[in-house]
């Protein structure tokens, strides 16, 4: 059977590319780490892949604002091929800095439904970078990466992860139209203050999807929980502990297997 192929996009300061590649491989995909310069030189490279992943890190040092410089570079050099990639029914995943890039490119929640002036990601209320584990509850049933209703546990590690909207109406639409992918919740599934909501995101938003459900951006790191021993207190838990992060990648690979394997040129 042909393999699902994933492109993990590298750029200056991106630093979660290797473990993201590993997670994709564990989930059954063939994954390559490709520098953004190579993609700009040869835009047709993208045609060979089914899944495009913007991994975590500090692209261009998060200078000016997290994800801004890389988003600017992509908007000016790769906007069309990436739009075509999405229009072709393929999958895009942005993790942490990759989520910030997708929002700052206007791809999330975007894709025609929102303007860039309506949603952004800004500094944590705490004013500092923090690494901690959070519970996440899915809010949508159209996102192909997500198993609806199933609460998961993943780490966040960021200083700029607070999702904000320009106005209440935008927020209402994000919620009512299923753009909110995940919310931060307590172990009991209820929303709560810091540190349950680690950054002060409005309505505890942890991730967004687009109108197609084939683009997902989230602040938490699914690639950091693909093995039992990555759980922060795995030494207290049984051997049947099933890592939550790997499922997001498996869902993507399964979707691509079922829907995309004929649509690739290479």
């Amino acid at each position: 059977m042909a393999e699902v192929r994933a492109l993990v996009l590298r750029a200056a300061g991106v630093n979660c590319d290797m473990e993201t590649q590993h997670a994709l491989e564990l989930a059954g995909a063939e994954a390559d780490r490709i520098h953004v310069n190579r993609l700009i030189e040869d835009k047709s490279l993208l045609d060979r892949y089914h899944i495009l992943v913007f991994p975590g890190g500090f692209s261009y040092g998060d200078d000016v604002a997290a994800g801004r410089i890389l988003a600017n570079q992509i908007v000016h050099h790769l906007a069309d091929p990436i739009q075509r990639f999405i229009d072709d029914g393929k999958l895009v995943l942005g993790i942490c800095n990759g989520f910030q890039v997708l929002v700052k490119m206007g791809v999330l929640p975007g894709n025609g439904a929102f303007k860039q002036e309506q949603v952004t990601i800004t500094y944590n209320d705490s004013g500092k970078f923090e690494d901690r584990w959070v519970h996440l509850l899915p809010q949508t049933d159209r996102c192909v990466f997500i198993e609806p209703q199933r609460q998961i546990y993943l780490p966040v590690a960021h200083g700029e992860g607070k999702v904000v909207t320009a106005d209440a109406a935008t927020l209402e639409r994000l919620k009512s139209e299923g753009y909110v992918a995940y919310k931060y919740v307590g172990p009991d599934g209820e929303e709560g203050p810091y540190p349950i909501n680690p950054n002060g995101s409005v309505e505890s938003i942890a991730g967004l999807t687009d109108s197609t459900g084939r683009v997902l951006g989230l602040m938490p790191h699914p690639e950091r929980f693909v093995r039992r021993t990555q759980h922060p207190h795995w030494t207290r838990l049984g051997e049947d502990l099933d890592p939550d992060g790997i499922k997001i990648f498996r869902n993507a690979v399964r979707y691509a297997q079922e829907n995309l394997l004929q649509s690739c040129s290479a």
Partner: protein, 960 residues
């Protein structure tokens, strides 16, 4: 070209996180009249574009469309409010401005090339304020004199950044005819930090050559011979007197720390004390290397920048070890003054310890996180003797192919410098860090602070990994202290080298040939490249926008030749440069201090002592710091720094799985206890080794694969008494390494950690030896953490508790020192560690915690609240020495080689059989309750407290 000014403010309704942070810091200064602070980003951009493009730029690039708004030009103070004071902070000309570099590239992406960008921060302070307070706020909160200029008010522009081009003028510093006074004066005037003996050796050399040295020749010698680079003190001969008995060392280091490594001769040590980091075997294919450095003096002047370049610098050590390793973990250990001082308790020229701590943590955080390297292990110690001279230890571990642990530069290889550009930053860093700090250092040595840019280093690393795999270079080393001078000098020591200094890429014009050669600008590495690989290597670096430049070549005449536009500016013999430094003989004295042990009667209960120790700065939770570091990036995390049922208990050591497809792990720990050194540095050093080993054992590290690193931070060792304490510690290093069969693989020393106050007094740091350690974990699935796991499980203590409260936290709480410092039983300690490692490997251990600062009571409290379970303990089962009869001794003595171990009842027999013949005893069990109860041998509850109360005490102290 027009200069555009953009100001970017937070939109009303969105919180100004930076402004609020500044306001909080101002209030901490005791200034209460400021009601609010608005912060803004300022961009000064010179480029050819029109008003319409300026708006596009502001809207699409410089500001956030949702939560920020921009202003083109200079905004006035907000009207209708309280009095507003405008303060702008600009980088001094020449200081690296990474944001500006990114913005320049982004503007070019938008179609306008060649923009010249500068950035600044603007603050609007609302509220009544006096000019003197403005100055205090600017100095203490907003800006750092070393690297930034402050502009108050709304009229003045910062000085122009445009520098005059450099015109070559070869300068000689005549030395041949100077007398002793003249030699010393020359060394002092030029900040060479060379003593008279060294100056005389240099004088004799140039008399032989029958010419005067150029400035760059003297600077090269000063750098290569600096304490920082050659460790003159530790390698010198020492005449030691120990309590009146004489002992001579021909080379202190070779006869202590190195000797243990040599005598142990482990076959898994691949390259030790030879390269930038010590290399040991990891598995069949791979090796790991570990290096720990200090960056103390720069962090005292500029905590943020100093610490950032500290971590940035030590990361380049593994990157420059062998053919280059890929960094996989950071460690950081800091020593500060206690942070609750009022400003008038702080000597002139010293930053407040709270500001130093915040800045240092932020510096390590921002650099380490941006590099994508998990910061997995560390510690923080507080003592007011670190007030003028904080210690910042940064460590890095790298992974490499086992067959790439050595480099082979050859004659004819090109010298290629890659990464960042060279600027005026960090001039004299190596020599500056080798001297004593004074209240004037802030102004005199501002140029010695380097400025880091993590992304430049990350980009360089990304390409180096590829160039290494492709075999495009023959040798690599980092440009650390001493800059190109050290890097090229060392790599070409056996060959000879010639360098065209005018080819080195510069951040800005105006640098003299000497500045180019000795600059310690960050993020640079030097490679030796075969001429036939020249095009390929330049291409691969260019493909990811990293600069790579051929600046010279290695020769075969063992001479160092420097040219500038074809004119020779230096010619030194490599042999004199590297071996010409005179050997010394130093005096050292150790006299056992006459100390006494306090006499106290037993009390009814010890809840207060336990709460006091838990909330003391050294023991208290460091979660505020730990969470700011990304400790999970790279996906290899197994045992995190915080463990337990709600992820907030103090893990003993970190475990990572460096290869994502292999379950083999690496355990990483440290040990240090400066308080014991006040009684005897010998036992202090052994306690440090024992603590580092215990921590590794507790998580499941192998007993037979422990590698150690030493980092000595001491005061002025020309004082025989200070050197005497160092010799004691070095002797302990030998004894400890031999006892444990754990070789030292790398080390570093930082001497002269003293601060000369304005009033003539000196604050000397306590003798501070950091022991870092790592070991192999065969299978990470077998790792153990310290949190209590299950009600009904049995608790054991292995190891003997003695009457050893000297230097303990219990005594510190009572402002006592004591005399009975914890000693180490060199035979028993390794037996215990080996058996516990065995018990963990056999799967008999549910949790294991090292008994250290605060003793048994603190260890039990930590296990209980980390596990969210109660513990009932009975001192009746505690194995003690005969003289350990006092309750405070049994509860809080910090005797070495002790472990608290939780065992499921079904494993009782197997565990007890394994521990047979060791001092061990069952002291209690884990309960489903919520209290820690410790009963005396008479059956009285001497500690009885809710675990939530204990945890709160432990957490609140540093919950910033």
């Amino acid at each position: 070209m027009k200069q555009w000014r953009f100001e970017v403010f937070n939109r009303a309704g969105f919180s100004d996180v930076h402004g609020n942070g500044v306001l909080e810091d101002i209030r901490e200064l005791g200034i209460t009249t400021i009601e609010a602070v608005q912060s803004a980003k300022v961009f000064l951009i010179e480029a050819d574009f029109d008003q319409a493009f300026a708006h596009r730029l502001a809207k699409e690039l410089l500001s956030d469309p949702v939560c920020e708004e921009y202003y083109i030009g200079r905004s006035a103070a907000p009207a209708g409010l309280a009095r507003a004071t405008l303060i702008e902070v600009h980088l001094k000309s020449g200081v690296t401005d990474p944001v500006a570099e990114s913005v320049t590239a982004a503007i070019s992406d938008m179609g306008v090339a060649g923009a010249h960008v500068r950035t600044a921060r603007k603050y609007v302070l609302l509220g009544e304020i006096r000019p003197a307070q403005i100055e205090t706020i600017a100095k203490r909160v907003l800006a750092n004199d070393c690297i930034e200029d402050v502009v108050v008010g709304d009229e003045a522009e910062p000085p122009s950044p445009h520098l005059k081009p450099y015109e070559l003028r070869i300068t000689h510093w005549p030395i041949r005819d100077l007398d002793d006074g003249g030699l010393e004066a020359l060394s002092k005037q030029r900040d060479l930090f060379l003593n008279l003996t060294e100056m005389k050796a240099i004088q004799a050399y140039f008399r032989r050559l029958e010419r005067e040295p150029t400035d760059v020749e003297l600077e090269s010698l000063a750098q290569t011979w600096s304490e920082h680079c050659v460790h003159k003190t530790l390698r010198s001969a020492v005449e030691m007197t120990i309590d009146g008995q004489a002992k001579r060392f021909d080379n202190l280091l070779k006869e202590t720390v190195f000797k243990a490594t040599k005598d142990l001769d482990k076959d898994w040590c691949i390259s030790v004390f030879a390269d930038n980091a010590g290399v040991v075997e990891f598995d069949e294919e791979s090796a790991v290397c570990f290096k720990v450095e200090t960056h103390n003096h720069p962090s005292a002047l500029d905590p943020y920048g100093g610490a950032a370049t500290g971590i940035g610098g030590v990361i380049r050590d593994p990157m420059g070890t062998g053919m280059g390793a890929r960094p996989i973990a950071n460690t950081d250990i800091f020593c500060f003054g206690e942070p609750d001082k009022s400003l008038d308790q702080i000597p002139k020229g010293v930053l407040h310890p709270r500001r130093i701590m915040k800045g240092v943590v932020a510096g390590v955080r921002d650099y380490g996180n941006r590099m994508g390297i998990p910061t997995v292990n560390g510690a923080i110690y507080f003592d007011d003797r670190y007030l003028g001279n904080p210690l910042v230890y940064c460590g890095n571990i790298g992974l490499m192919d086992k067959d790439k642990a050595f480099k082979h530069p050859q004659s004819g290889n090109l010298i290629v410098v890659v990464g960042g550009r060279t600027g005026r930053d960090g001039i004299h860093g190596a020599t500056f860090s080798s001297g004593q700090m004074t209240h004037e250092h802030e102004t005199v040595f501002s140029h010695a602070v380097q400025i880091g840019n993590a992304i430049t280093e990350k980009k360089m690393l990304d390409v180096l990994v590829q160039a290494n795999e492709a075999g495009l270079y023959e040798a690599i080393t980092d440009c650390g202290a001493g800059g190109l001078s050290s890097a090229v000098g060392e790599m070409g020591a056996e060959l000879g080298a010639e360098v065209d200094l005018d080819t080195v890429p510069l951040k800005y014009t105006g640098l003299s040939y000497t500045e180019i050669w000795i600059s310690e600008a960050q993020e640079r590495m030097v490679l030796a490249v075969k001429p036939e690989n020249r095009e390929a290597i330049l291409r691969i670096f260019e493909s990811e926008n990293v600069e790579a430049t051929v600046i010279g070549r290695f020769t075969n005449d063992r001479k160092l030749r420097l040219r500038y536009h074809g004119q020779q500016v230096a010619e030194l013999d490599m042999d004199f440069l590297h071996n010409g430094v005179p050997k010394y003989s130093r005096q050292a004295i150790w006299t056992t201090p006459a100390l006494s042990e306090p006499v106290t009667a037993d009390k009814d209960h010890y809840n207060d002592e336990l709460l006091g120790i838990l909330s003391s700065y050294n023991v208290a939770s460091k979660e505020w710091v730990i969470r700011q570091y990304d400790h999970e990036v790279q996906g290899g995390s197994v045992v995190k720094p915080l463990v337990g049922v709600v992820n907030d208990g103090p893990g003993d050591a970190a475990v990572i799985q460096p290869k994502l497809t292999s379950s083999r792990g690496l355990a990483i720990s440290c040990g240090m206890n400066p308080l014991y050194g006040d009684i005897d540095p010998y036992w202090m050093a052994l306690a440090g080794i024992d603590e580092a080993v215990r921590n590794l054992i507790c998580v499941g590290g192998r007993f037979d694969r422990i590698a150690l690193l030493d980092n000595f931070c001491w005061g002025n060792c020309t004082n025989p008494r200070t050197l005497g304490t160092l010799v004691r510690a070095a002797q302990a290093c030998y004894d400890g390494a031999m006892a444990y069969g754990a070789p030292f693989i790398s080390g570093k020393d930082s001497l002269n950690n003293e601060f000369a106050c304005e009033d003539g007094t000196t604050i000397c740091i306590p003798a501070t030896l950091l022991i870092s350690a790592m070991s192999i974990v065969d299978d990470v699935e077998k790792c153990v953490t310290m949190d209590a796991k299950k009600p009904g499980n049995l608790l054991f203590v292995v190891g003997r508790t003695s009457n050893e409260l000297g230097g303990s936290h219990c005594y510190k709480l009572r402002s006592q020192l004591g005399a009975n410092v914890p000693r180490l039983d060199l035979e028993l300690a390794p037996q215990i560690a080996r058996k516990i490692a065995q018990a963990i490997a056999d799967g008999l251990v549910a949790s294991c915690h090292d008994c250290s600062e605060g003793g048994l009571a603190v260890a039990l409290a930590e296990m209980a609240f980390a596990g969210g379970l109660g513990i009932e303990a009975d001192l009746h089962g505690l194995p003690t020495s005969k003289d350990c009869t006092r309750l405070d001794g049994q509860l809080f003595s910090e005797s070495n080689s002790r472990y608290v171990i939780e065992v499921e009842p079904r494993h009782y027999d197997a565990f007890a059989r394994l521990m047979l013949n060791l001092p061990f005893g069952q002291i209690g069990k884990v309960t489903a309750g919520s209290r820690l109860v410790i009963r005396s041998r008479e059956g009285r509850n001497v500690v009885d407290a809710e675990i939530d109360i204990l945890k709160q005490a432990w957490q609140k102290t540093l919950d910033w």
